[in-house]
């Protein structure tokens, strides 16, 4: 196995594009090294992206934030401005694994690993995050919900890498939240995850995005659920309609963590709680 640690994204793309055998990006490595150890993958080339400045930094810009692909959960959690603007995204990412895992794991790794239960992804999709992708043909941008195409698979072409994620500018009237349900409080995988972001205007929800995790082959953005709360003050009727719309959108499986019927029910319960937190964070009156 060849190991390379290029200094630019362009070099990383060139290395990955040229390699004939299985080639992987390593950022946090918290999923990849486990898969290598169990023999699920046998890379011919690993490209370590942690020496690429564009990937290891968080930039505050006029238009929002740009989070490099190799920024760890711990670094994300320590960034005050980002935590204030998008607390749901930061909290979701900080739910992944232990403090030890937080020291290495990244949002882009969580995204590209493409698990239906990835914690950071529903929060990112709810927040309207976009992926800055670099490939042999140049740069392109894609909404985060367009990246995961199924369990373990993504829409990235060979040689393409995500350099960073961008989050839009947040205002005092924007709030987001993410909650997941797990049998244990720590070190567990979501049975259901719900991410919601919303923007208020004169106390009324003007815009909203609702994304569900672990209830379908991919995290799913549910506009029909967002529609149930847009134009409301998140009263009881709106919350009930939201819960029903979220449960309706689920297409889960039975597995050792929960049955499909249980997931469908919990999705609605969690959505109510998440919407309530996001509404308060957006300055809504309870």
């Amino acid at each position: 196995m060849r190991y390379e640690s290029p200094a630019t994204t362009k070099e990383a793309v060139a290395l990955l594009s040229k390699e004939k055998g299985p080639a992987f990006v390593i950022a946090g490595g918290t999923d990849l090294l486990v898969r290598m150890k169990s023999g699920l993958v046998e890379p011919a080339l690993l490209v370590d992206v942690k020496r690429i400045p564009a990937m290891t930094t968080i930039k505050v810009m006029q238009t929002g934030f740009r989070v490099g692909a190799a920024v760890s959960g711990a670094e994300l959690g320590a960034h005050k401005a980002l935590g204030k603007a998008w607390p749901g995204v930061v909290e979701a990412t900080n739910l992944i694994g232990s403090d030890q895992i937080q020291g290495r794991c990244t949002m882009v790794g969580n995204l590209c690993n493409a698990s239906p239960a990835a914690d950071s992804v529903p929060a990112l999709i709810a927040a309207g995050a976009k992926a800055a992708i670099v490939g042999k043909q140049g740069r392109r941008t894609a909404a985060v919900e367009k990246i995961i195409t199924g369990p373990g698979s993504t829409s990235l072409a060979k040689g393409e890498v995500i350099e960073a994620l961008t989050l839009p500018k947040s205002s005092r009237r924007t709030g987001d939240a993410y909650l997941r349900f797990t049998p244990r409080t720590e070190m567990d995988i979501a049975v259901v995850g719900v991410g919601i972001s919303m923007t208020l205007e004169r106390g009324i929800i003007k815009k909203a995005r609702v994304c569900l995790g672990a209830v379908a082959p991919t995290p799913i953005l549910v506009p029909a659920a967002a529609d149930t709360i847009i134009g409301t003050k998140l009263d009881d009727a709106a919350l009930a309609a939201l819960a029903a719309a979220c449960s309706d959108a689920c297409d889960p499986i039975d597995d050792k963590r929960g049955t499909a019927a249980y997931r469908i029910r919990v999705a609605g319960v969690l959505a109510r709680r998440v919407a309530t937190i996001a509404f308060q964070r957006a300055g809504g009156a309870a």
């Binding site: 196995m1 946090g28 403090d99 030890q100 020291g103 290495r104 070190m187």
Partner: protein
């Protein structure tokens, strides 16, 4: 067989060099090439925390880091906790509270607890339990460990005043 790469890194304040295959995890490099056997292998998949070290100040599982990734970085292992042969207060309190039985998890607990106290000198019991959720002990249970960390925090804070 993977090619070997020369790695130069700082471990507990000393510059060390070793050649390791590209697919070797840092846990094995530290134990077998640097000779620091305080770092233990429990699960090998990042669940148990027995191999905890800090890498550039960040708490990580050394079983989930490649040896080659450590080039130019700064590593602290449990061996780096002592100063001039004196046990770190955490180490002493773990002994005083009998916070270990077989001892395999202990180095990881010590490194993780030190990372916690460096960041938060006055943690609540809940904060300690969350911060140590990535360290598994199958002998003593966690109560004595939590009490040892609380006692260390108290002593370290007294020394700071």
């Amino acid at each position: 067989m993977s090619e070997a790469v020369l790695v130069s890194t700082t471990v507990n304040g000393d510059v060390v060099e070793f050649a390791c295959p590209t697919d070797e995890v840092l846990l094995d490099s530290l134990r077998d090439r640097v000779g620091l056997t305080g770092v233990k292998e429990g699960c090998g998949t990042g669940d148990c925390g027995a191999c905890s070290i800090t890498l550039d100040g960040q708490l990580v599982c050394s079983c989930l880091v490649l040896g080659v990734e450590a080039d130019g970085r700064d590593i602290t292992t449990v061996e780096g906790l002592t100063e001039d042969g004196e046990l770190h207060p955490l180490q002493q309190k773990f002994i005083d509270h009998a916070a270990l039985q077989c001892g395999v998890c202990t180095p990881g607990f010590l490194v993780a607890a030190k990372a916690l106290l460096d960041r938060n000198p006055n943690p609540t019991e809940t904060e300690i339990r969350y911060a140590l959720a990535g360290n598994l002990c199958r002998c003593t249970g966690y109560d004595k460990i939590v009490r040892a960390v609380q006692a260390s925090a108290k002593e370290l804070n007294k020394a700071r005043r």
